[in-house]
């Protein structure tokens, strides 16, 4: 039983790895082939192949029950659970996150956040496909240096709710910042789209947390945007890192 889980997880990661590397391997066709043919060879040698779309992990529910209700009503994609360890005290990380205006610095899908006072805030961002989205949200619970829980208010195009936890990491390693959130769309088309896009969205949140860590630990987010390069291929010139 354990072997099935291991091998199917491995297959899933190999599958998405192939797709995500396609952009980079256009010129280097040979090396792209290595992984595609290598994967086929493993199938032939008897390792079970589990379809990528069929494999979704479901995690603990850490959002308030009422929201869970609303989310299940809307046939939500699986909840997003991701965490990162940052070598800074919880108080410092909480304080930076609590100033919601700071969030667009490391959350790439956000353009602007305004704290309206009274626990309410206004958010402007982009959906995974690049369309502008705006919504109002309220802070459901705010425990300084421990957690911030939020949910979007009725009327939002994309319902979202979640909690960010700041837990002390063992052995003096700093703080584990954990995000648990759910997305749901108000309309059926949005639901279907949301289901398909969930894997990308979870990765976006994971990358947001990575950028938060980079910003907090080093004071900046590493980048190569704007660096020198030679002549790109047509695809190389137009395909950019979506995260």
């Amino acid at each position: 039983m354990r072997d099935d889980v291991t091998s199917s997880s491995y297959q899933r990661s190999t599958g998405s790895f192939d797709q995500s590397l396609t952009d980079y391997n256009v010129e280097s066709e040979d090396t792209g082939m290595i992984y595609r043919v290598g994967q086929a060879a493993m199938i032939v040698s008897g390792v079970a192949l589990v379809a990528l779309a069929a494999r979704r992990a479901t995690g603990h529910r850490l959002v308030p029950q009422s929201l869970a209700q609303r989310a299940s009503d809307a046939v939500a994609p699986a909840p997003i659970e991701t965490a990162i360890t940052i070598g800074k005290p919880a108080a410092e990380l909480y304080a930076f996150w609590r100033r919601f205006e700071n969030l667009p610095q490391f959350m790439r899908h956000l353009d602007e956040v305004t704290d309206l006072g009274d626990g309410r805030s206004h958010w402007v961002g982009k959906s995974p496909l690049g369309f502008k989205v705006e919504w109002d949200a309220e802070t459901v619970e705010d425990r300084p240096n421990q957690l911030i829980s939020w949910r979007s208010l009725p009327g939002a195009q994309i319902h979202n709710a979640g909690t960010v936890f700041f837990d002390e990491a063992a052995a003096g390693r700093g703080t584990i910042v954990r995000v648990s959130m759910e997305l749901a769309s108000a309309n059926p088309v949005g639901q279907a789209v949301g289901k398909v896009l969930a894997p990308i969205t979870e990765r976006q949140v994971t990358e947001d947390l990575r950028r938060f860590k980079q910003l907090m630990e080093t004071g900046e987010i590493p980048t190569i945007d704007g660096q020198s390069h030679g002549t790109r291929s047509f695809i190389g010139a137009h395909v950019h890192n979506p995260l």
């Binding site: 990661s13 998405s16 790895f17 995500s20 590397l21 980079y24 391997n25 010129e27 280097s28 040979d30 090396t31 792209g32 082939m33 290595i34 992984y35 043919v37 290598g38 060879a41 360890t85 070598g87 390693r173 990765r203 994971t206 990358e207 990575r210 860590k213 980079q214 630990e217 080093t218 004071g219 900046e220 987010i221 590493p222 980048t223 190569i224 945007d225 704007g226 660096q227 020198s228 390069h229 030679g230 002549t231 790109r232 291929s233 190389g236 890192n241 995260l243």
Partner: protein
């Protein structure tokens, strides 16, 4: 500026590209006075490593003069002469603080790609694929150096570039290989690969107390350098039936105490397993050729140490784990933790203990880089190490020096257009 750009398998081109600029506050811009081609660049040249893009500037062994610094760089000023390590480290994360500099958490801009292949991402490198950050490299006239307050090593004037350039990678890497062996005084150290890294591993093994150094390769000029400069006993594996038998014989049946793999994924061999690797790699069923790894595992004495600095990128077949486990071997490996070694090794160079320029066989202008790559790869013309000098025109004459174009952010100097 002129820069050496990857354009496909065995297709390096020198293109005119924009000068680099400060992108983050902890950046600096270095005007490059000397740079080199590394053995690991050949894995890119031969298109064995995924996520490289046409137009990427290669090169990770470079040094020069600071010409601009971002606001966050306090320890360097314009005019400082620096050698830049090939790994990019932030200095603040769990790994940097533990002196595991090549495992920095925060310098890989595309950590998610490396995570897919490796589970977790190592540090970003200069000029070494997008999986490892996509940073433009240093085979060019200028380079942008991120986290410049952590990486670059200041070197004094009055010593030639050629004696300190290799502090950027290959000297610390050879030393790291020997350091990882945990050499006990009098140990026999066997080193596969007499390329530049192997040569520095030989030098370093003596520095760290080896009693005997045995070096293995097939190219006469490299074996010759290992003997004359390295004082090593040498084995030409194309001239013996079995390297394993020869090593056993030479060590009176014990086997070498410490074994260094300074070859990596493009190993060449004459035995059956080497032919298996070549066939499988051609059919794209194996990504790396671990012939040296297998041989070192079998050759090492019981309870010995295997130290791996040859670069691997993917997956290997048929590793004798049974032999390794039952003989109780210790494996140590990695990309070099540069910042541990650069200063102490600079001291050794300044003291006259070692002249790293002994590995240089070719000095070229930047426009000859494509020829340099081919010659280095094919081991022609007795090639051991190729150094590129941006202000050479290839006939050893200095050209008119390039003046940098671009904006002046931070506290950069003024340059005319």
């Amino acid at each position: 500026m002129r820069a050496v750009c990857w354009n496909g398998k065995n297709d390096m081109r020198v293109e005119t590209v924009p000068d680099p600029e400060i992108l983050n506050e902890r950046d600096a811009i270095v005007k490059i006075t000397s740079t080199a081609i590394c053995g690991s660049d050949l894995h890119l040249y031969n298109a064995f490593i995924p996520t490289i893009k046409k137009g990427d500037i290669l090169g990770h062994e470079f040094m020069g003069e600071v010409v601009e610094t971002g606001r966050g760089v306090k320890n360097l000023k314009v005019g400082d002469r620096v050698v830049v390590p090939f790994t990019i480290s932030c200095g603040e994360c769990f790994f940097c603080k533990k002196e595991l500099w090549s495992l920095c958490d925060n310098s890989n801009t595309n950590a998610w790609i490396a995570e897919k292949m490796m589970g977790y991402s190592p540090a970003g490198l200069f000029g070494y694929t997008h999986m490892l950050g996509g940073y433009a490299g240093g085979q060019a006239e200028y380079a942008r150096v991120p986290f410049a307050d952590v990486g670059p090593l200041k070197v004094p004037d009055g010593i030639e570039d050629e004696k300190v350039l290799f502090l950027s990678d290959i000297f610390p890497t050879g030393y790291f290989a020997a350091d990882n062996c945990d050499i006990e005084p009098g140990d026999t150290v066997a080193i596969w690969g007499c390329g530049p890294v192997g040569q520095f591993a030989i030098q370093s093994a003596w520095m760290l107390g080896a009693g005997r150094v045995i070096a293995i390769d097939r190219f006469p000029e490299r074996l010759q350098l290992a003997q004359s400069w390295g004082r090593a006993e040498v084995i030409n594996y194309e001239e013996v039936d079995s390297v394993l038998d020869v090593l056993k014989d030479m060590t009176g049946g014990l086997g070498p105490d410490r074994c260094i793999d300074a070859v990596g994924m493009e190993a060449h061999g004459t035995t059956l397993d080497a032919k298996y690797d070549k066939a499988k790699q051609t059919m794209r069923l194996e990504t790396d050729r671990p012939h040296v790894l297998r041989e070192a595992i079998m050759a090492c004495r019981k309870g010995g140490t295997l130290s791996i600095v040859g670069v691997y990128s993917g997956f290997v077949d048929k590793i004798p784990m049974g032999a390794a486990m039952n003989k109780g071997l210790t494996f140590k490996m990695g990309q070099t933790h540069m910042h541990r070694y650069m200063k102490p090794l600079l001291e050794r160079v300044l003291n006259g203990e070692i002249d790293p320029s002994r590995v240089i066989s070719h000095r070229l202008g930047i426009d000859e880089a494509p020829w340099g790559y081919k010659t280095f790869c094919d081991k022609e013309d007795d090639c051991i190490k190729v150094v590129l000098k941006p202000d050479f025109d290839g006939r050893g004459h200095r050209q008119h020096p390039h003046h940098r174009h671009g904006t002046n952010g931070g506290n950069g100097a003024e340059y005319d257009a």
